[in-house]
């Protein structure tokens, strides 16, 4: 038995037997038996129209309502006209680069400005080619989930720190005392 190549059907050498109402004609080593393999059946699928499209329409309208409400009540900021002679203090990047700016204040620019963002982008692109296991439940891929979660939490914290907790000369401020975040 052990020298049988993977994928080669093994003759059972006796009369076909019944398993769960199906006749077993042979066993292919390395493949799950027919009863265990997950096969998409008609019951597992639904028509996109109307089931998915109705839900997408609701999600789309909810999104637009949120945008409308925010836009009615909050005006986009417009400060004084750009003046290269007057540098505001603090000088802030847009909020989605606040984590990078916070890193830049702590590490060498080559590390914080090039190596870290480069490694994040390359790591994200390489992720599906590194984590190739055939498992999708988070508890079956602890390494990937832990790594991703760690980086994500650090990034979110750095973003909040750079966005809300930094004031003049990039010094620490409490956002409930001084507000320096810009959108």
């Amino acid at each position: 038995m052990s020298d049988v190549e993977q994928g080669t059907p093994v003759e059972l050498g006796r009369a076909p037997q019944n398993v769960e109402g199906k006749r077993v004609l042979g066993v292919v080593p390395g493949k799950p038996a027919a009863g265990e393999r997950k096969v998409i059946t008609r019951d597992d699928t639904v028509m996109v129209w109307p089931h998915l499209l109705v839900r997408h329409a609701v999600a789309a309208m909810a999104t637009l309502v949120v945008v409308m409400v925010i836009s009615v009540f909050f005006d986009a900021p417009l400060r004084d006209i750009a003046n290269p002679q007057v540098t505001p203090n603090p000088e802030k990047a847009p909020w989605y680069f606040a984590a990078l700016q916070e890193l830049l204040s702590r590490f060498h620019p080559l590390v914080a400005g090039v190596l870290v963002p480069g490694a994040i982008v390359i790591g994200l692109i390489a992720l599906p080619f590194i984590d190739r296991s055939r498992f999708i439940k988070p508890r079956h891929r602890k390494v990937a989930v832990t790594t991703f979660t760690t980086f994500m939490v650090i990034w979110i914290i750095l973003t909040f720190v750079g966005f809300m907790f930094r004031g003049p000369n990039w010094g620490w401020v409490w956002p409930w005392q001084e507000w320096h975040g810009e959108l």
Binding site: R55, R79, V86, E91, L183
Partner: protein, 270 residues
């Protein structure tokens, strides 16, 4: 096992059964009758909607529905499966294109005009302030929703074979979202945008060996000035949107093509 599943479906989905029966019985609702006219038959390549097979054919031959598969796995309907973040991101992109085109009518990308144009938009242009707000807040929300979409896809394990390449396209779409937001940030030409872009582009200068050149290509000079504004404007309204829409088309096409694959996972989804 399969019996219980069928029972459950019949118990929870009487509506679907009803629709099916209705169509099989007559197919004479308003839309059905419109499709049955000479004009309707010329518009719809597959006007008959009597059997489920007809309905699938009608979906398959409809241009507007061609970005969707005909059927999907039932579990994809649930809110917790995707939080609908892909739809939210796409809708925000639509909102940004619509509001952005409107703003383009009233904006000239030069330091002499840009700032006063924004002031005019806010005070004199009909719905100008509102449209500018929509553009601004949609942009911020889109950065959030695209990033959250990536997180949801990660935790669902939906980047696995055969969807690896679509994940890569998604990463590029996230980068394009950030670049679009960043280039747009400069356009009002106020203190906020000028200095945010000055800080942001300083990071490009830290690239080893070619940092200064990269920064110079990006800004069109050593500092943020009129050529930077023009460059960012062209990137913002033409180059980056074209790239984003092209990649989004591939992204959605791959989503549709791969929508039925989850056969080979060794643990289920639930």
């Amino acid at each position: 096992m399969s019996l219980t599943k069928n029972d459950r479906d019949e118990a929870t989905e009487p509506v679907d059964q009803g629709v099916e029966e209705h169509i099989e019985g007559r197919g004479d609702d308003l839309l059905g009758r419109l499709r049955d006219t000479a004009v309707g038959k010329s518009i719809f390549r597959s006007p008959r909607r009597v059997t489920p097979r007809d309905r699938a054919a009608g979906h398959w031959s409809n241009f507007l529905l061609h970005i969707y598969p005909v059927k999907i796995r039932r579990k994809e309907l649930a809110f917790r499966y995707s939080w609908y973040l892909g739809v939210v991101s796409t809708v925000l992109l639509g909102s940004l294109v619509a509001s952005g085109v409107y703003l383009m009518f009233f904006y000239v990308p030069s330091p002499a005009n840009a700032y006063t144009n924004i002031q005019t938009i806010q005070t004199d242009v009909p719905f100008g302030q509102y449209v500018r707000n929509v553009h601004r807040w949609s942009a911020h929300l889109m950065v959030l929703s695209v990033a959250a979409h990536m997180g949801r896809v990660f935790y669902r394990g939906a980047y696995k074979k055969p969807r690896e390449f679509n994940w890569v396209i998604g990463v590029v779409l996230l980068l394009l979202t950030l670049l679009l937001s960043f280039t747009g940030y400069l356009l009002p030409w106020d203190q906020l945008s000028f200095w945010a872009v000055t800080v942001g582009s300083e990071m490009a200068g830290y690239v080893p060996f070619i940092g200064d050149q990269v920064k110079e290509v990006l800004l069109g000079g050593p500092t943020v000035d009129s050529s930077t504004l023009l460059r960012f404007y062209v990137l913002h309204v033409a180059v980056l949107p074209a790239m984003m829409i092209f990649l989004l088309m591939i992204h959605l096409w791959r989503w549709r093509k791969d929508s039925m694959f989850d056969l080979e996972m060794e643990d289920g989804d639930e």
